[in-house]
Symmetry: D2
Subunit: 313 residues, 4 copies
Amino acid sequence: MTKVGFIGVGRIGQTIAYSTVMDGFVDEVFFYDIINELPEKFEHEMRHAMATRGIKTEIVATNSLGDVKGADIIVITAGRPRKPGMSRRDLFLENARVMRDLASQLPKGNPNAVYVMVTNPVDMMASVFQRFSGRTTISTGDQVETMRMRSFIAKRLGVPVREVEGFVGGEHGEDAVVLWGTVRVRGEPFREEGLSRREVEEYVKMIPDEIVRTLGATTWGPGTIIKDVIRSVALNEGRVMSIAFPREFQGEVIHVSEPVVVGRSIGPSLAPLLAEEDRRRLEEATGKLIEVFRANLKYLVPEERSLSPSRAM
Amino acid sequence: MTKVGFIGVGRIGQTIAYSTVMDGFVDEVFFYDIINELPEKFEHEMRHAMATRGIKTEIVATNSLGDVKGADIIVITAGRPRKPGMSRRDLFLENARVMRDLASQLPKGNPNAVYVMVTNPVDMMASVFQRFSGRTTISTGDQVETMRMRSFIAKRLGVPVREVEGFVGGEHGEDAVVLWGTVRVRGEPFREEGLSRREVEEYVKMIPDEIVRTLGATTWGPGTIIKDVIRSVALNEGRVMSIAFPREFQGEVIHVSEPVVVGRSIGPSLAPLLAEEDRRRLEEATGKLIEVFRANLKYLVPEERSLSPSRAM
Amino acid sequence: MTKVGFIGVGRIGQTIAYSTVMDGFVDEVFFYDIINELPEKFEHEMRHAMATRGIKTEIVATNSLGDVKGADIIVITAGRPRKPGMSRRDLFLENARVMRDLASQLPKGNPNAVYVMVTNPVDMMASVFQRFSGRTTISTGDQVETMRMRSFIAKRLGVPVREVEGFVGGEHGEDAVVLWGTVRVRGEPFREEGLSRREVEEYVKMIPDEIVRTLGATTWGPGTIIKDVIRSVALNEGRVMSIAFPREFQGEVIHVSEPVVVGRSIGPSLAPLLAEEDRRRLEEATGKLIEVFRANLKYLVPEERSLSPSRAM
Amino acid sequence: MTKVGFIGVGRIGQTIAYSTVMDGFVDEVFFYDIINELPEKFEHEMRHAMATRGIKTEIVATNSLGDVKGADIIVITAGRPRKPGMSRRDLFLENARVMRDLASQLPKGNPNAVYVMVTNPVDMMASVFQRFSGRTTISTGDQVETMRMRSFIAKRLGVPVREVEGFVGGEHGEDAVVLWGTVRVRGEPFREEGLSRREVEEYVKMIPDEIVRTLGATTWGPGTIIKDVIRSVALNEGRVMSIAFPREFQGEVIHVSEPVVVGRSIGPSLAPLLAEEDRRRLEEATGKLIEVFRANLKYLVPEERSLSPSRAM
């Protein structure tokens, strides 16, 4: 029995859940949301979709977190999106509180689950959840950027996307770094012929906002890519993906994306095998991230007094 | 080469297109919409999704109808949804004008396409498009209601949805009729034990509005079900589905849903094989529909003068 | 839980079983054979194959028929192939005895299964099994010939096989008849341009022997086609296929292939919707078959005395 | 266009080819064999199978090696199986001559192909082919043993195979070594509770012979596992698999299986990330292999005089 819990079934949560169920590899799913009737009505939609394919995944739709039990994988999309005028710190604080709350409730019923963070800022949210839950938490991190990078190069150079390899790492979002030593086209190292590194980096940075401006949100891309992360865990496929898994750095457990083997277990990381230049850029990203994380954590700390991290990693 | 055109890539159009491309049976798709940048940004999202799966479907994203060429199947979702305060007739007129317009432009570049209507009121829009284009047009009609009916019975009786058979026919929407002679559970005719016919009929009628109220629109259910209609045509699967295909009735070509073999060709209809009671109800539905259709057509006629139907079916 | 039993896991049984398990729609399979260690060693092979795909179908491998229990579908390939010098009647008698034996043992543990006959002569074996078991038995009949016909026309006319529709019916084997009224290419009725009806009929008749001469047996074609019959039942797909299901004719329950809706339930037949010429040819085939069946049955009858058919259909 | 050539379509070649085509990720396949009519008759079987699924992969069936052109991947199963009384050296020599011959002919028409060796002794055959062709050649090596190991542990401990991780490396066949440091069950390192390391190692060593004794050959397991190697290359999945890719060792290019990232490019190897004990065992295996390889090569050398390796790796 493969069981997957979806904590939050707003637009991105629904897209991941739909993509997951349609792929046929799960036996039971949980749809949880704090919004009344939302999980239940989404269940109806899913049942209609499953009927035409003969899919028989069990569905538990609920507004009660306690109903999510015995999951192998928990996908967290709960929280708020960043709104105009909202500072990054405000976003951090607001969603960090949600994570702290989820971290105090979910592990009891789902002690062996792999927790997959999707809520933004995704890397720090993964670290917060890990801190308060003590459970293995991964951030889907830069696997989305990785696929955006590949698809852009493929389109611009007119090759099938299967012919483009390589990874984006570091922080999810604007500070992501293309690991150029890993990028290959038709099996050959990337050369700036007809397409510059800068253009690729620009695309990865700018495209999410452009999509959001027209479509209101990014859903199909991240939804499918994150589904494939879930699939690689659930079927033990062992694909190498650029996600963030917990590691200790300067005494802090943090999440930074790098190429990692994703199977029933997460790891090992392929970072030691990267070119020196790529390793250096990953370290820089890590250094920056930890600084921001600590700064943000300070604001969470006063509230945190009575709550100590539930267990070491 | 299997080519599918999507005329309209709003929410439902996107869901059908996503589901279609991910299913892996198409070589090329066209995303058309009148909204600027919408097809293009949707293309980006789709490319990101395709990258993770290694899918290499060609995409043409365009605001120009003339770019949609050589399609085998054209899926029409363009038009307006019904808004509060809008009469059914107003909706008919507004979308009928869209169809008349599309009918004058699409067939030239896509002479051999099967046209699949999704825009509401779907059955009449199929008839309008057929009238002005002279091309084989099907309405996805009651296949959506069919799957809703099966999924409801399955859930209420606690059986896998694969164990429920049967069809809903007639008009798409509130006047759809459950063809009870076709309904079977675990291979046995439906009996009102623990679940009444009335409850089933109520569910089919009410559930779309309930979903819309909470989720804003019905997408996952119809999107997947309509994708399967497209798939059955594209792969020549020959599945029996409750869709509406053109037939002459009292001198008018109209669309009413009934169980039909859906393959490379559409048909034959299984209506002659239905129980008498079911056939009678389908005829009633047809009679009602033709009346409403004629009444609505009258308002379209004055504009229509100069435009005669382009060719007989 | 979808459970499928394979009675006989020789070469064709293995191919069907492999194709079925890899398609991912079954939860449990039974591998039965009278040959010692054969089911067990095949189980090992299947487990190795399932490991790479993350498939977790349960397998019961056994030499004891009593271990096959609670199946939804039972696929029978047990029996002997026809050997040089063996008359058709000898083949009938030998395999009919196997069926009579299976019919006395399988239904008790599998009362609700659909029985799918593959052993030759397949139509008569289905009738024999039905006669002695009283259970719904279908013969995969001419669905194999149907696909051979389509693939030949496709190759010869240079069109994708998806573009060829139509069915072969009547008896499985040399006396199968192409139902020409159903054959369409690119949506148009078959015309003898560049390819004659005779050539098509010859191909369908001759190709199995030609394959057997070089490859030793026909496996990949029938294996996949029969898997799709199983799939259409298991997932309630409702595809129209040319298989034989039981019907009474001149007081005898016999099996003749005609286009039939294959879902959780088998039927209805589309025979009443066929062109007159096609219907006539099917009737002729039925007449011939019943004669041969009766003649063969006579030789089984003396042994049959004490054994009366277990229950009416 | 994804094109895959199958050099040899005997029993294992057919199984890999069938599994590949049915998986739907290839556009064109080549079936080559020296046996007359074999590729052609196999093509017929495949066309029948493809018809029921609507698959439209192009097929070129040929007895002429020159017809295999423009392939992305070439799968070599040609050669002889080991027969009773035949020494390992004899098998090496016989098949090495086949490889030398293929190496002189295939690269010209397929300059960019990845060559996937399946013929036994598979690792040395890969080295021979690489030596004479100068093209990237991989041996499917111990990925088959890897899946056998996982499936055995899963069955014996009663867990789904998805819950077992780990690799077998070194030489393909009896001298393969379980890399115990990589083996995990339900996410935890393997512990000898209820199942000893020795039992697992015995199984991996003995099961092929046991299958061959009863079924005549191992096909379903290796066929599917090798298909997944092909798939991971063709779709650029980046799965980690235990295959052998060329590396220089003591001045000789040889093939030894270790966990490697398999995508559009092959590599990097994860060997540097293994536990010391596992690395040591891989090195031992490499040392043994190179010795045998050199001993065998000596017998090929006299014939080789005039033929020097076509280019450096």
